[in-house]
Subunit: 391 residues, 2 copies
């Protein structure tokens, strides 16, 4: 929160930031924590109640006509629109300010159709969901959108996204805002999955890596409590790190021996086919593992070791306390994680692994929508947004 | 800056944060930028001038007895004590608030003597320097100390430091504060070198990696403008990442093929000795390279490639815009950097290397002291410290 940004807030956002944790507080507590005068607190509480962002806590309403004495965040005060655009599938949902999904719609949709058809679908379906809920755009605090490619954080524009033809430098926030007038935040899908995973399972954790293993392999990193996006927004792009095994395996990126060329869903399926096992996709591999196919189990375990090889460096470099493995291939369960653990615990420095948890994603297929909601809510409830709103 | 922390500042710290960049501003400009009332600004400016932290800008002093109209940070208002404790050498300096070294003392000192002898040396020499300058502890804003091991950020205590026997969990800030009553900040030496490098050469850069290549190999990372220390403060510990070459080379850590066992100063010297070249230390290797010894040049180039192999993953993961190579071995010049560049530009993804600079450290041997000064100054001039001070 910079000085300039906070200047116009006049106490509203300060109060609200305190109340965002959901814990109810009295006016006196708010005055003490903020250092604001009692009279200022009273006026600002009224303002936040008028905005609908906080409510008097039911149990604390006193009798005898005096005003209610405790206040807390009202998660149903506004909605967030959360969207997850995948390579071949898209989902849009309405959530409350706590990230709870209220209604959701999902269907096959090729991102390769280009920005206007895909975003038209998104806007149309967001409006459809609002209508179903009997709500309007006025109830929406913000929209968060995850896309399958690198995004420049400051503008929300995809930058050279390999699997999103036609989207390079497309002004997603500008276009969407023009069609549905709410603030729009855009980020890479793995980044928002990291946000979603933390919100659901690791709320207090400052250093978390979310690794998506699916058709591609990528990581979203939370560092010091915030997403680490890097200088060009391509941080976490670990799919094309070279691993020691299989330097003869060509990758579509032009190099050999990339992690993605050996340990992604399609790569495991291809390796199994070469052994005479019928597998044409990552989904087939998951099914084989669930049916106890020993070749598939061994292949998945090896993929885990390959991923572990790259994560070993990541652990030494970043010293996270949690690595959550998600994406479609994580559905194979412990076989993949076991391979990751085997290598990371053997090769990383003891100091970096002493308190390190390597776990399956708890948010699983809900990570992206939850994260997109968090992206929207974080923005909508930030001091900057509130101060603009309160002016 | 959390709400609670800023509450007592009553405008003092807001004004000061604006003035910290060194640019002079008028009272009217300060009122506009902070949203504070003109009368409040006038009172706060007087307060900061009384604290000595800002001064009227000389050229702007108006004639005719009216108060001076422009104000700016006064870097000489206070001193910082900056200390760099190495494995076998220690330095202490006094700097101004802009990090400029005013006086410095350096001598051989084994960190293995343990905390009390080393910190006694530090405190005695800091006092000696103050005396030489005709200043007292009252002039000191804070002290920053770099140590050659992992440090828990919240407590300033070394945690399982491999080359600092007797220092594990020693309360450095507590001990030093007891002997010289100033705020004390402690961090890992490579972290403070990253701070120093950025302050000197890359002030606007948000994502920077500083790689120290000396007896050991480690990295300090600035992510989103802040040091990334990781969950246990051991982030950047890349010396024990396994590289593809030399898996038969044992490392004192218990593993084989660690980067440090192949590419550190002593490792290069050992490899040269095995080829019959007289080299007993990293310093010998540097001398050989400077004299044009082809074996030494080739060995250093290969060490650069080894380091590049680990940095390739770091670049994909972190997407920095600058990698600065420092430490004693960086004195060999372009031969080391060339090896690093060769591998990183070949293997990292084009998006992550498009705007990546891989350069020799500009701060060089001054990086640590400058960084320790920055660590102290950042703390002393933070809104939290100022608000406590102004109360």
């Amino acid at each position: 929160m910079s000085v300039e940004q906070s200047a116009g807030a006049a106490g509203v956002s300060e109060l609200f930031q305190l109340l965002r944790d959901g814990a109810p507080r009295t006016r006196a507590e708010l005055a003490k924590s903020t250092g604001l005068a009692r009279s200022t607190v009273a006026a600002r509480v009224d303002e936040l109640m008028r905005m609908g962002l906080i409510s008097a806590v039911a149990g604390a309403v006193s009798t005898g006509g005096r005003p209610p004495s405790q206040f807390a965040l009202n998660p149903r005060a506004r909605l967030a629109i959360a969207a997850d655009i995948g390579a071949s599938h898209a989902t849009v949902a309405l959530t409350d300010l706590a990230g709870t999904v209220l209604i959701e719609h999902s269907e096959p949709l090729a991102v390769a159709l280009g920005p206007e058809p895909v975003l038209t679908w998104l806007v149309d379906n967001a409006r459809m969901l609002l209508e179903r809920m009997g709500r309007t755009v006025d109830h929406v605090a913000a929209m968060g959108i995850g896309v399958p490619g690198p995004v420049e954080h400051s503008t929300g524009q995809p930058v050279n996204p390999p699997i999103m033809p036609g989207w390079d430098r497309f002004d997603i926030p500008g276009w969407v805002q023009q069609h549905i007038g709410v603030p729009v935040l855009v980020d890479n899908d793995v980044n928002i999955m990291a946000l979603g995973e933390r919100a659901l399972a690791w709320p207090g954790v400052e250093h978390l890596m979310f690794v998506k293993v699916a058709t591609g392999i990528g990581a979203g990193m939370i560092s010091g409590g915030h997403l680490h996006r890097g200088a060009q927004g391509v941080a976490g792009d670990i799919g094309h790190v070279q691993i020691s095994r299989g330097s003869d395996v060509a990758c579509p990126c032009g190099n050999h021996g990339c992690l993605e060329a050996l340990a992604s869903g399609p790569a495991i399926a291809r390796a199994l086919r070469e052994q005479g096992v019928e597998a044409h996709s990552g989904g087939d591999v998951v099914d084989l593992v669930k049916r106890g196919n020993i070749d598939a189990i061994q292949a998945v375990r090896q993929a885990g070791r390959d991923i572990g090889e790259v994560l070993t460096t990541s652990v030494s470099l970043m010293n996270p306390s949690v690595i959550a493995i998600g994406g479609g291939m994580a559905r194979v369960g412990e076989h993949l994680i076991a391979g990751v653990r085997e290598v990371v615990y053997k090769r990383s420095t003891p100091l970096a692994t002493e308190y390190l948890s390597i776990v399956q994603s708890a948010a699983a297929e809900k990570a992206a929508i939850l994260g997109a909601s968090m992206l929207a809510v974080e923005h909508a409830l930030s001091p900057e947004s509130l101060s603009g709103f309160a002016r």
